[in-house]
């Protein structure tokens, strides 16, 4: 398996707040890797650092063999790294299809129709609503749109920040089914979740974060069995 993302001992600060304290992890091609941990552990901060939305003070991030330190955030997606941010952050005043067009912003346009058809096949709900203003979609549909939008950039690695946040259990199931399906089709995924149980059930490997550090790592199965994880994150 070839390495696609290497995070090496990074430190991230918000002013004086030391949010990420020297974490290291990696993602290999074809894997689902999950980063779990309680609210405030530093999961979102880690993804933002990888996307260069936040400055990494020390340490390095390497994607596909290239260091990302001096790549501006808008150039990251071009390299095949897509980030679905926490809270979805779709463009609420634009239509569903316009959101997908923005997802394809860095693509020359020659694959647009095929990619759009792909996303609509994956998310038939979005096709039905393609002319609708995105702000009028339900939470689950907005999450699908956020994921579809990211897929329009043809990512080599898809980073999902809490895709199940605020969704009813049945929709959470649906979102995870989609994640599994994307994985089956060959998409590499870095999944951040508070819903540890669901995340561990789909993950090849997992890391547990606590107050800016990685405190545990292993395969999804191993961690799901671990007493420590059970007690802290799986409700006993």
């Amino acid at each position: 398996m070839s390495r696609i993302l290497t995070v090496d001992n990074i430190n991230v600060y918000y002013g004086a707040i030391h949010a990420i304290k020297g974490i290291s992890f990696e993602v290999n091609e074809g894997e689902i890797v999950t980063l779990i941990g309680a609210n405030g552990a530093g999961k979102s901060t880690t993804l933002k650092a990888i996307s260069n939305l936040l400055h990494t003070k020390t340490g390095s991030i390497e994607f596909n063999g290239e260091k990302l330190a001096h790549v501006p955030p808008h150039k990251i997606v071009e390299k095949g790294l897509a980030h679905v941010p926490e809270g979805r952050r779709i463009f609420l005043q634009m239509t569903v299809q316009e959101n997908l067009e923005m997802g394809a912003y860095t693509q020359g346009g020659k694959n647009f129709d095929a990619d759009l058809a792909n996303v609509y096949e994956q998310f038939p709900r979005l096709k039905e609503r393609r002319k609708q203003i995105a702000g009028t979609l339900s939470g689950g549909e907005q999450q699908m749109l956020a994921m579809g939008r990211a897929l329009m950039s043809r990512p080599k690695l898809l980073m999902l920040d809490e895709p199940s946040m605020g969704l009813a259990p049945i929709l959470v199931e649906q979102i995870f089914d989609i994640i599994k399906e994307l994985h089956k089709k060959g998409t590499t995924i870095l999944l951040v979740e508070q819903n540890a149980q669901m995340a561990l059930s789909v993950a090849d490997r997992a890391y547990v974060m606590e107050t800016g550090k990685i405190i545990l790592s292993g395969t999804g199965k191993e961690l799901a069995q671990s007493e420590e994880v059970k007690k802290a994150y799986l409700g006993g």
Partner: protein, 292 residues
Amino acid sequence: MEFLSYLISGISLGSVYAIIALGYTMVYGIAKMLNFAHGDVIMVGGYVSLLTMTSLGLPVWVAILLAMVVCTILGILIEGLAYKPLRSAPSLAVLITAIGVSYFLQNSALLIWGANPQVYTPVIEGAVKLFDGQLSITYISILTVVVCVVIMIALTIFTSKSKMGKAMRACSEDKAAAQLMGINVNKTISLTFAIGSALASVAGILLCSSYPTLMPTTGSMPGIKAFTAAVFGGIGSIPGAFLGGILLGIIESLAKAYISTQLANSVVFAVLIIVLLVRPAGLLGKYVPEKV
């Protein structure tokens, strides 16, 4: 007939406000700041076009083109030098900077061109006479309205159909998310200032052609009125800026004619206050839905 003539001059004046307001509103939409120097770009457009026609003796179309080019560059420079370094500064700091840039432009004009009002050469002269000469409409007011409508339509098509225009809307909504799409936010903001300033130069030429005196403070009042128009119509909204500008021009013109010349501005602002009391987001403005 008298009423009709006031109405027409109001629509024409309102069209100038609308063109300025479009620039205000686009910049506000994307940079979330009030660019108080916007009005002074109008004045620069006025001087550049006037000097091209008089001092250089070049034809009108060259004057218009040159004014647009100079103002576009000026807009990009203002954004890049004064506002861009403050991208993450508190909005009060940006506001004070914008006022500073406005005074800087006025005082530079004072230094370069002096305080004396100059007589502007209208880009077209003459008028059509209707109803046996009872109603006369100047060509410049017809041109102003036509230009305004064309700009409004062009901007609407640009923002709803073109890739760049859609990227602009995406940046207006959520800059971080736009960056994650691969949109260069700095470049997009710069482009918005460029468009706004080019429009301001056109407004300057039309305004000075209708009211042919030009001095360093010429852009100031129309700038404030256009800002009012943008708020009136709903700041951030393109059709809102258009509607707000036209209505403001009509109200001002009718207030001048039927209430009092001195009170006209007060009437304009009184109407603004009433509208904002009833519709705080302006006529066509909408509250941005909460992010979930």
